[in-house]
Symmetry: D2
Subunit: 384 residues, 4 copies
Amino acid sequence: MKRKVCVVVTARPSYSRVKTALMAIKNHPELELQLVVAASALLDRYGSTINYIEEDGFTITERVYMVIEGATLTTSAKTTGIGIMELSTTFDNLKPDVVCTIGDRYETMATAIAASYMNIPLVHIQGGEVTGNIDEKVRHAITKLADLHLVSNEDAKQRLIKLGEYEDKIFVTGCPSIDLAKEVSEKPELDFDPCEKYGGVGQYINTNEPYLVVMQHPVTTEFNEVRKQAETLIKVISELNIPTFWFWPNPDAGSDGTSNALRTYREENPNNMFRFFKNMEGKDFLKLLFHSKCLIGNSSVGIRECSFLGVPVVNIGTRQNRRVRGNNVKDVDFDEVRLLEVINLQLKSNNLKQEEIYGNGDAGFKIAEVISKAKLEIKKVISY
Amino acid sequence: MKRKVCVVVTARPSYSRVKTALMAIKNHPELELQLVVAASALLDRYGSTINYIEEDGFTITERVYMVIEGATLTTSAKTTGIGIMELSTTFDNLKPDVVCTIGDRYETMATAIAASYMNIPLVHIQGGEVTGNIDEKVRHAITKLADLHLVSNEDAKQRLIKLGEYEDKIFVTGCPSIDLAKEVSEKPELDFDPCEKYGGVGQYINTNEPYLVVMQHPVTTEFNEVRKQAETLIKVISELNIPTFWFWPNPDAGSDGTSNALRTYREENPNNMFRFFKNMEGKDFLKLLFHSKCLIGNSSVGIRECSFLGVPVVNIGTRQNRRVRGNNVKDVDFDEVRLLEVINLQLKSNNLKQEEIYGNGDAGFKIAEVISKAKLEIKKVISY
Amino acid sequence: MKRKVCVVVTARPSYSRVKTALMAIKNHPELELQLVVAASALLDRYGSTINYIEEDGFTITERVYMVIEGATLTTSAKTTGIGIMELSTTFDNLKPDVVCTIGDRYETMATAIAASYMNIPLVHIQGGEVTGNIDEKVRHAITKLADLHLVSNEDAKQRLIKLGEYEDKIFVTGCPSIDLAKEVSEKPELDFDPCEKYGGVGQYINTNEPYLVVMQHPVTTEFNEVRKQAETLIKVISELNIPTFWFWPNPDAGSDGTSNALRTYREENPNNMFRFFKNMEGKDFLKLLFHSKCLIGNSSVGIRECSFLGVPVVNIGTRQNRRVRGNNVKDVDFDEVRLLEVINLQLKSNNLKQEEIYGNGDAGFKIAEVISKAKLEIKKVISY
Amino acid sequence: MKRKVCVVVTARPSYSRVKTALMAIKNHPELELQLVVAASALLDRYGSTINYIEEDGFTITERVYMVIEGATLTTSAKTTGIGIMELSTTFDNLKPDVVCTIGDRYETMATAIAASYMNIPLVHIQGGEVTGNIDEKVRHAITKLADLHLVSNEDAKQRLIKLGEYEDKIFVTGCPSIDLAKEVSEKPELDFDPCEKYGGVGQYINTNEPYLVVMQHPVTTEFNEVRKQAETLIKVISELNIPTFWFWPNPDAGSDGTSNALRTYREENPNNMFRFFKNMEGKDFLKLLFHSKCLIGNSSVGIRECSFLGVPVVNIGTRQNRRVRGNNVKDVDFDEVRLLEVINLQLKSNNLKQEEIYGNGDAGFKIAEVISKAKLEIKKVISY
């Protein structure tokens, strides 16, 4: 009898981060993949991640609509509540032997609670890291609900041990996002025209010329400053006068502030040098980053994949605060002058060394192996 | 401007455990109490805790119905989901400066998630302890969501520090349940007739004769064994042939198993020596315990209040597994022979010393003080 | 390809009323039965209807927990809301060709809305009748959402036509509850001992002696009077001094008032002549009625099955207000004196004629036939 | 004591349709307005109706987020379920004496169920009309739940009487949307530049030149054809080569199909003659219509306000099927050739007579009067 492994994917970045693990689970002779696509991963407005998933050859076992529209802190809470109600039905129907949740987005708590309350062993992928804001609370809370931990590096493992988890329940697999980065670093040609393939809106960008990539997500504990932060960033980038691929933020509380700032700018500056995208297939996105002069923003892609790819990153604000990072990253606050300064510094860096801080490229394989072999238990008591 | 302190009470034992703190908050010149009564604390079937709350002179700010009937693991998850949806509306309306949640029952996670996701500082009362089963997961997960920790003893404090919480956010206040125990120990007369005052069903018990008290809750990770465990316990107690006050379990998953076993026994043994109660006012319950020969079951009252009161306790099974305990407690498994043996042993013990393991009787006062003075912040990063 | 017929059963009386139809659908060569058991039909407290369903040989396709505990008007509304959320997932998974809902209980609206909003043809069984209170609103509202109407008699059909429904969408099948009544009337021996077979609590009743049956449900628009009405009824029945089978009410708003009145009476009158039951298998219940001196209360069983069986009925209050009724029924208000008078009158009646007001005994068969043949459409416009 | 009147506004068109009634209730000496803004009326994506409401001087009593994002039939059902859960809490807190719901959108059922299940008298504005699809089912179902009916014309009143409602519970007030139309017809100058005032995207339109207005909503029972219908319409309008104000559809199931067709067209035809708007303040919109050559689509504005304003309308498809209409309306199907033909015909019509089919301009005043005087009752039984 194969182990039934239910993975719940709730957002675009979670999918890219877990894709090679999904593939390895699907192909593992002792595992059966139950793929649940939920929350913003289903929504057109956030880039229809589900389409990429299907194009990658996965069968969707169940779709779970759970996002209450509104993008306020209250709707984030309510979305999580609905997620628990809906996912508990899903688990009742699918009867998985083990449930996997990824990372630290607010709605992943719904997966963690539904599974642990229903006595289904819970695997947490990417626990043990440190960042800032609500993600930080969510990540460690899920650690305390999880029965098995698959982490990116030794640093994360040691943190989980300090958190009272047992060493035999923690496995350093690396982060599956690095698996993709490895494939891309082995064959990095930009073999497509982003504007043509992905549409987007705004100026056409010729990728033979130098270009930037921007990806900035709102920080939910700084809810009221989101719009001002977005405006500062837009101002600085537009002064650089370099063609820029700009990615819309995730549907977190506060994303409407960012979106509105971007829309206003576009309407007032019809001749800007930006092109806006919702989403890109994972490898295409990494190729785009590989050839870019610099990634600017607060996406964890800058910390993880870009350290492996050797892409310069300007990391803004508190969102990635204390994550382990490589030499490719320079941190800066929302200060106009400093921001410009640091970006210009990074634009001059080159020949960055590739670093294996978040894995060496076989995380997906290792994850499937661990899940197929690990003893599955739900009783757990803190180690001290 | 007074600080608005919203306390969410979801069950009978949580109320007794927090009553003196509620009183102290209510009377504190710099605090305004917003008392939300939710979940099983509202329900007749579980002893209408809300009536006791009102009799104690509190004004209920809001009632939140959230229990999905069914008492399965799935309905526990769904109840939590609904709790998040409902409590987020409540917090939106009440706009508290700080939210307090108590202990580790599954539905308290709803309070913790709604508050933390809405950027309202979260106080956790009674974190840092160790027990077993789902409570253990819930308790530590809430710790990771909470911004301020009010704990029972130094042991709990040290555990929270190990869990990565900052020392200046942890306050040893003692457990408010001990405040009541102290009052009772100073004036322990059994000044009421339990059967007359609280009704209940079954045999009349004369409290001048020796009697037992039983309080056994189902353990949710042992869902399928609940009925069998209940039957074992019933068998052993009935063999003792001592009048017994028996309290119905909380509405957790599995409680129907216990309830059914009890009902079947009653119908088949009309002349049993048990009397069944849903609930008792907190002090009355402690007085009843004070004069009992022994408390049998897995209630945390045995570990906490009874150590202060010096009442012998037979603690059965895994539920209180690793909680710090006094000399009054003897642990035993669901083994018929051993159970009978250990109970008989405890029935002979006397002159137990009072121990102050969970506080010395002014916890309510200290809790109100801390909440009135503490710096309220919602950003938090693990300490290592 | 068989038509997939999803029937949602939410309560004890709905099941008895539809049982022969379920059997006929299950056995029909062109139909596939999807049986969803939901709401109070799942709950132990309301007689575990689901056990009877399984004993009758049905396979439960899905269980849907949706009752928010509390029994207030607000929880009735919330239960319906949750029902819509849950049943829409159920229909998404089961992909029925047609959904059936029965009668007029408040939570059946959840079935009707989920199906009609999802463009699934909706069959309403037992529309077109007239009664009082919220049932009346619900019943006619469901008529306006339904695409096909299977009614008990010509009177109901004519009412639906007046309501703007098209004649070719209305089928007089009779009420399936009469199918059971017919079977019982053909073989009416009371071949079991009710107290022995069903337990219950209270006095043992010898069915060879004359006995009464009481079944009184709270009327939700008279919420505040429920307890007083229950007390009046208890007083009158106890004065009659005849052994009485008393059935607990449905879990409507207000049922706690009735339940509490009954519990108080029991405790204050330990030597009463009542025996209390939650539920009985449908035919057993009809046999019990057949041999009773009189049915007292406001159950629709008195109007429907009892007219076919020729059992005297005292129908109290507004609940069945304008339902078509036979000569076996005498109506009365909650007036102590009149109530006693009318009951005594009925106790003297005998040799009542059987009447076929709600069908002649083959409704289940006809219902399956109509569902297998009818054109299924979801577009509908009022006929005038 | 003033009567507390709770009006729940869930969408852009409902607000315009009820605005003068809200104003009259607010200003009525015997009434207190409780204004609940819910569902898509809160959402930026659908034109932030709430901003217009606040600009009009109303105080929002409560905001209720309830839209589950996804725009499928299933999410429509779930949105309604959540609406019931949320609005029942709202009504519990506000304790209105009467609740008003408007029209026939799917989510208005949530208002109707929450109020009627909680025994709060329910007023339905705009019942008794006839159209097509799910609106038709919803409208008449709400009629059966409502206690008081305020209708647009005698035709609607007669239909309600046929539906079994009592004549003394039905009041012909006219439709409040006509109140605005009357004000506009008395002072119709187009005193603003739509592109400047409302932004929108696309071509700038000079309102001194002839222009069209398009407003086409998806029909939920024709879910799968929505995209094709949108493409047909786009093709025909673009062939006309007349500047066109195009309004985005409501967030019904299917609206994503329309939106996607519009986006694709825009990207492939950068030089099209369309300008796209989400929303306009009610009177501005009517002024825009007043001066347009023709309104094309399936909005009820064409049937109602435009008959009073004397604006030519091409009404497409089934959505307004059987609504009473004036001479200004020509109906047509989704046939390319016929569509073009009928539009061209309407473009030649002029000097249309104003008709008072849906009221004569004082509906708001009459509605407030009726609500202040009417006897409020919740018991109702069908009249036949």
